[in-house]
Amino acid sequence: ILHLYTCTDQIQYIEWSSDSQFILCAMYKRGLVQVWSLEQPDWHCRIDEGSAGLVASCWSPDGRHILNTTEFHLRITVWSLCTKSVSYIKYPKACQQGVAFTKDGRYMAVAERRDCKDFISIFVCRNWQLLRHFDTETQDLFGIEWAPNGCVLAAWDTCLEYKVLLYSLDGRLLSSYRAYEWPLGIKSIAWSPSSQFLAIGSFDEKVRILNHVTWKKITELEHPAVITNKKTIVYKEVEKSPTLGTERLSFPPTRALASSLFSTQSKYDICQVPVSLNYIKPVADKANPKVGVGMLAFSADNCFLATKNDNIPNAVWIWDMRKLKLAVVLEQLYSIQCFQWDPCQPRLAVCTGSSRVYLWSPAGCVVVKVPGEGDFQIVSLSWHSSGDSMLLLSKDHFCVCYLEREEVK
């Protein structure tokens, strides 16, 4: 442990600055943001929003400005750690992804809503000047996301309307895409790292992929409950009963013995196609039903796309982007909580709330158990940027998992 800082209240949100020099701690209940410095532990900074309240807080890409969203999304205040200037952005939109920064940190897009109409403003992060301001043809803008090349902005509508609008950096509408009209629409969106593809996951359990040249759909990826394609590999997690040598039993049982008795081992089995997966029909009269493709992620080398269909919550579908076909399905015992691709290689880490982390790569897949007594229920995970280690988080613990590199002889 390098430093220990104490904040005045319970922290709801914490974020590193982009140059890893500062840590931002936001306390929404008190409306306070405290910033700590790593270089100088004595340095302190405290931003009090007062009666304006605080709903969200984040760093700007240059690591020197803090954007606070006040309560009821009244405004976004841009506090500067370098100068005394404060900027305000009025009428921000209260939606899931209202603020988006480009990957190189130059531009920021903010979704706004004035007079019951949606607008997008593009700001230059260097001096917070407004570059472009244009309206969008959406009913109720749900989210915006920059393409990794920083030149195209995707904006999509609420799930009541299936609509994706693509804007160029200078505010021109490049294209708009709508797959169907009445049923529930878009659930999740992801850009491919090369900005070639835009994957749209919708409530009809399909993923549609648009290409960056014509912005038209090149394929639809379906998630049926029965897999019949012979070229798909299906890995199924199977529990194996713990083997115990009887001569080693002792009373009182040692700790290691006890933990191995109560914890179950599991491994992967390859199932023969056709395989039918565990399909759950959602309750019809609830809002935000657990239907459709809720999680989408491209691998770092742009070769694979991992998706999760909320109707089949125990399975991860891995698609090969070069052939646009289903390559692998991982079927787990419990419902998938989170998955993330390795930032360097095509390696996927999956966690399901059990004490095991699952890794898949084109060479095969493996189950890794977190060692320790009791249950370590992994709720989320996060890769290190070098791809050598990852963080596993449970409710009140975390553990670091190192991946050894095999020496190539």
Partner: protein, 579 residues
Amino acid sequence: MGDWRTVTVPLLSSDSKNIFPYTSERKSPASMSSEVLRLSLPSAKSMHSFFSAFCTEENIEQSISYIDRELTTMGFPSIYVESKGKELDLVSMVNCMNELLVLQHKNLRAQEEIEIQHLKLGSDMDHLQNCYTKLKEQLELSKREIVGLQERDRQLQSKNRNLHQLLKNEKDEVQKLQNVISSRATQYNHDMKRKEREYNKLKERLHQLVMNKKDKKLAMEVLNYVGRADGKRGAWRTDKTEARNEEEMYKVLLSDYEQRQKQLLLENTELKKVLQQMKKDIISLLPPQKQKPKERSEDGPVLSDQEEDIGELNKENMWELSCETVREQLTNSIRKQWRMLKNHVEKLDNQVSRGHSGALNEKDVISREDHELETGKLELEIQQCKEMIRTQQQLLQQQLTCDDDTTLLLQDCYLLEERERLQEEWRLFREQKRNFEKERKSFTEAAIRLGLERKAFEEDRGAWLKHQFLSMTADCKSENSTTPSAFLRSADTDLRLVRSASQQKRPPSVLSTTASPEPCQISQYITQNSVASEKPAADYLPNLWVGSDGKEETEECTKTWEDSGLDTLCRNLHMEQLP
């Protein structure tokens, strides 16, 4: 014919039954004909009686006159002579009888014919009646079928109508639901907008309140302002900066577009290369056109075009151009050649099929013969290859699957070989170890010698110093006498230390803390060499452990001793006090 009926012949005889029913009744022609039939076949007896029934001896003249009357009415000449009365003309009577016989014959024949016809007609009628009944039945059946089919058709039609109706209903419902949805959507939108406006008003109000309530304390409290990440100062907002922002944005966009265009250009050139390659391949696949005159006449103009195309488009520089016309030319030429190739393949297919069915054309026969020759050759080759494979397999089998003894022997041979190799290695290893030991021994001997020499030297030195001392200070006798023992003791300890160091490889730190500087130096040397000995390379050791080197080292050590002579003496003196 009615005359027959009205005439009642008053004759009663046993056979009159035949006549009465015949004469007293009015019959239909059919029954008449049947009676006539009956009449025509009387038995001889009845005939006889019949004849006697008409004319008896009492009424001869009456009957003759009756007959005469009948004959005259029938048109025959009278049987009386000159119609005088009672004289019969025999000739006319015979003529009349003959005429009557002829008539009778004729009538009989006619009757026969009529009877035959009657029979025919009867059978025809029966046949027709049967047909009629059959046809009537068929008609009935088909009528019933028609009725059934009509019934079914009606049912299906009604079902169809029902389904149409249902479909229409469903469509209407769908339409209605869609309308309902859209109307509800608009209603919801409207309501949402209204609520949103209210909400905006609330927000504005809240905003005003928040802004009005100026917090006394600073909203931001910072110990000291931090420098910017890129080290530059912030800029004021001016037109120039705005213009610069725009410029940068456009630069970013342009670079992205340029990159994409480069990629597309690369792709284009690749594809064009592939197309050119394909074109060349197609041209090479197509047979040379000169040998087939008839085909040439067909493809004459096409050929010339093709040659032209080849000439034009095979020029390297034409690739680079990406204008519309060049692209079109390329694709058109490839399409043309592809078509030609297709035709060629089709022709070959036809030739093959013709060859299968039997060809008349001499060329085909020749090609077939060639084909057969080729196939024969290939078959021979295959045979040879198979035989070779078989022989090789046999040889392999022999090699691998000998009887058990030989396999065991072979295995043993391999094992022996390995064992011998290992033994060789062991021997080498042992030799090296021995060398190592030898050298170590030599070194220890050298060290011991060194120690001894040192001891001797020390003794000499001690003696010399003693002399000096004695010469210098004649008073301190007792102290001096202890020194040589001290030295000896120290030398002994040195020796012991050296021996222990050489025999057990003790860590250098232990040695250095207990030993005096000379053993320190030696221990350093020892540790150097022990470290060297720990290294696995066998060839490394001999270089260090050569005896001559050891001697050199000991000479060096003695040199250092000589340099630090007095120092060592003082330390030795300190050593006296330690034990």
